[in-house]
Symmetry: C2
Subunit: 333 residues, 2 copies
């Protein structure tokens, strides 16, 4: 959700009863500015979050980092100044070792302030290592259906969440809450996650079709158009390569809607230089550059076909919550 989950979306999600995250990603150069904007939104008397901010002294949103690239001193400076209530760590070059200084600083640098530390993993072994070394407040367990970046090889949350739960439990770490990520866009998915042993779920792709997302119209239109994500999306590194993003560790790739960049790379064996030049040319088309024959990247999970209309973040959060209640009621009958 890099460059998409900005203050307006994060604040709206939190105001509706979820916990919204700013996507800081691997480049934290604009984080301070975005936290300032978040603070302004939260401070408005009608934000719905004004009182909670006054009471707790932390910003009622989280910040998500992509740790192979994020600069720790600069990130900590912004965090120290604005005190988001949670920090989400993902994709360090070495897991969990490279996160140790992050966790140490987050826990000890500011007297009286300890943000919730969320760490995202995609394998059972990774969950165990992270739990042991970092003792996170939350483990985000990401499965293969997720849009955007995740492990190139992984199970879906259907099998990953229960095995993480069982394994942590067997090692006396069962008290760490698990949130399921990847393929969850509505109350059905959230209820499934709860049945599998998660304490809750996180959603990305669904919010691409929110009014508050900072997303190009062409991107959002492609999300609404796409169906049957098992065949219309694919995990690949090509979308990073055409955009010149080279930092992801080898074990990751990203799931996006299949487009001309992918077809040229995989079916026509086009080289990266040519493909990238075509991508850069496509940027001039603006919204028309997205689509199955376009070249602009539409990161999305396999649940993309379940995202059919744009609505406010509040309607998404509250509608999903209501669906969960309804489904649990129906299951009980």
């Amino acid at each position: 959700m890099l460059n998409i989950a900005l203050p307006a979306l994060a604040v709206s999600v939190s105001a509706a009863g979820g916990l919204g995250f700013l996507a800081a990603g691997f480049d934290v150069s604009s984080l301070e500015e975005r936290l300032q904007e978040t603070l302004s939104l939260v401070s408005q008397p009608n934000s719905g979050l004004h009182h909670i901010y006054q009471e707790r002294g932390t910003l009622p949103i989280g910040v998500g980092f992509i740790n192979w690239g994020a600069d720790l001193p600069r990130a900590m400076a912004a965090i120290e100044k604005y005190k988001p209530c949670a920090v989400w760590l993902f994709a360090p070059r070495s897991q969990p070792d490279d996160l140790v200084p992050w966790v140490e600083q987050l826990r000890s640098r500011v007297p009286g302030y300890q943000p919730q530390i969320w760490v995202q993993v995609g394998l059972v072994a990774e969950a165990v290592a992270v739990a042991k070394v970092l003792r996170p407040d939350v483990l985000v367990v990401q499965g293969s259906d997720a849009g955007g970046h995740g492990l190139a090889q992984s199970a879906s949350v259907l099998t990953l969440v229960p095995e993480v739960c069982d394994t942590l439990h067997a090692q006396q770490m069962g008290q760490i809450p698990i949130l399921a990520a990847g393929g969850i866009v509505d109350g059905r998915g959230v209820t499934a996650a709860l049945a599998l042993g998660a304490s809750g779920a996180v959603m990305g792709t669904r919010f691409l079709a929110s009014l508050e997302a900072n997303v190009a119209h062409g991107y959002q239109a492609e999300i609404l158009r796409s169906t049957d994500g098992g065949t219309s999306t694919v995990r690949s590194t090509v979308y990073d390569r055409v955009r010149g993003i080279a930092g992801w560790p080898d074990r990751y790739n990203g799931r996006g809607v299949i487009n001309q960049s992918y077809i040229d790379a995989v079916e026509k064996h086009m080289g990266d230089d040519e493909n990238r030049a075509l991508y850069e040319d496509e940027l001039k088309k603006g919204d028309m550059g997205w689509g199955p024959h376009g070249r602009l990247t539409t990161y999305a999970g396999t649940a993309v076909g379940l995202v059919r209309e744009t609505m406010s973040a509040a309607d998404i959060v509250q509608g999903t919550s209501q669906e969960v209640s309804n489904i649990i009621g129906q299951l009980g009958q």
Copy 2:
């Protein structure tokens, strides 16, 4: 479950309250013999199925076919003679066209006998086409976590089941029951499937660790040993290639535990002839031929790490059912 789900397993599953299937697969030459054996088991007064068989006149088990290879006349002759209560169709060369004669004969050939027709699909578009043309009694919706063969590209049931439900509903075909397949091995997975909109679930990998499965000790030991299926299993065609099985349409591959055949093929670029020769040599090792450094195929889903002990099929069926009740009760609290 080819050569594994034989009469003893199928009958035990049905006797416990599930519906067991014989794996006929793509070679139906031994189907008649296996149905005769099934009939003998069912006819035993203490089978628990004796009365239901007498009452209904159909065998209380199903037969599963892999339709790119299964011979229709020979299959129909066996079905006509033994009347299984259900037939499960999967992987025709052309979907759904090649299944039309199967469905026509199953529905009309034997006066007064119509087995339930189950058809397995792995995409939304496939589900719609099958529903429209074949009007099956059950759609088995298989996701990417499944062990053994399935579509090389697909979503997990987490997103596939809800989208199939919604799409069939929108096209006035919402009355067709959907069973989730792929990654489901216990009550957590079944409850998740129900939350996603399925009417139930099917399980394969779990029954590899049943007392009644006709499975080599080495295979079963590898199922019990393997954990973290997102990284310990992989979808590939290599396990067919080393065994000389050439009939699967291109859109399918099979998920198995990573072993030396896979490592040699993918990391060491070994040719199929050499890899196959090594496989055939490995067969002489018997049970010792399985394992991460072995070459005998361990087809299994990503839930393999949740399968930790061998138990009777009855304990699996009844234990899973009890877990579902418990989880639904907990969700309601």
